[in-house]
Subunit: 227 residues, 2 copies
């Protein structure tokens, strides 16, 4: 469901070229539960941003659900992203003026409504309870702890029942008991809905619970390029 062929990503900083990904080739199957692991600065977020259609590669091919991203215009890329993907950002990117409930509900307002209003509300409440924020629904992001904000970002990414979830360091700000609960929730969604999960993480607990690890070092895959 995800295929990369010789993907490169360079950032330019004034005249300096910063090669963040240096020729990445990998495949991820539908329903896989995998993690990208590697040191700080090795390119994990960059890789997830390319797979998540948030950024474009400098060169190389990306295929998501069989579509060659290079052939899609920006508007079609955005469409694919809304329909197919859920993204948990390393920096959360919550909307400051909305409370927990409204932040989680937000992606559902962007597409056509697929359920009745009542079913939608029950689903949103269910997801919020599953991440342990049932008693914080009216709080805004600046009225939450770091780990609570992280869990809002997680709930928001899961609410549209996406085909592929990209999770960038989803447990960085969570204690081990809460982390375990969150990963169990994701494993359950993976088994019941065949959702593909792609983590980027340093958390050894996630690395232990995934089926497959793609090891990144300095922009290059050193092991695990095929599931």
């Amino acid at each position: 469901v995800v295929e990369l062929k010789e993907v490169h990503k360079d950032y330019s900083l004034g005249k300096v070229n910063v090669p963040a990904l240096k020729g990445i080739s990998l495949t991820i199957g539908e329903g896989d539960f995998v993690s990208v692991a590697g040191p700080s600065g090795s390119g994990k977020t960059t890789l997830l941003n390319l797979i998540g259609c948030i950024d474009r590669p400098t060169r190389g091919e990306l295929h998501i659900t069989g579509q060659n991203l290079e052939r899609l215009r920006d508007r079609e890329l955005t469409e694919l992203r809304h329909r197919t993907l859920g993204f948990i950002f390393q920096t959360f990117n919550l909307i400051p003026v909305l409370n927990v409930y409204e932040n989680v509900e937000f992606p559902l307002l962007l597409g056509k409504r697929k359920q009745s209003r009542k079913e939608e509300k029950e689903w949103i409440d269910h997801i919020i309870n599953e991440v342990g924020l049932g008693d914080r629904k009216k709080h805004r992001p600046n009225e939450l702890s770091g780990g609570q904000r992280q869990r809002v970002a997680i709930a928001r990414a899961l609410v549209t029942r996406p085909q592929i979830v990209l999770a960038d360091e989803p447990t960085a700000n969570l204690d081990s008991a809460t982390s375990e609960r969150i990963i169990e929730l994701m494993k359950k969604i993976n088994e019941e809905q065949k959702t593909t999960f792609i983590f980027s993480t340093h958390d050894p607990m996630i690395v232990d619970m995934v089926d497959h690890v793609i090891r990144l070092h300095d922009g290059v895959i050193i092991s695990g390029s095929t599931s």
Copy 2:
């Protein structure tokens, strides 16, 4: 060097009262290397913000380096903070328009200069190299990875050689090799400069390396209130 007596912190959310800390009493000695540990939402950041003079308690007493904070006006509190404390925020709070070097240099520009311009530059470069960002000095925060931003926040907190360093989840976004290197750096500063370090963390590596752990649960200390 830090003493709390029956400290409470309530947040108000419209008409609802959210008690984040419910009667905290603790002492931390000069030169201690301690950590506050506890689940997400248990009050760690709130506690560090009170000790770090970033927020005031709802009731109770705080004494920092012998001074009763209640007796200080806001301007004197800010003065104490600049002179005595270094703070590593859970959300980094870097200045977006400044690059790595300028962000780390910034606290030194706020006080009177204590070294020659040349010595100051060498010290800033040294700290930046110690956190592994020597080749990223000209990057701005949005041109850095999550863990690199975290390390800028760390370097910035250490550059004024403060008496007390408050580190809120300083390794959340770091891989284990980088984390270990950072904690070793802090241990070295603790031993050489007798700097007091107070961590808030979920990272078991830090919990293993500190002399003492203060366990927080739901706004209450359940163990470790005296070093």
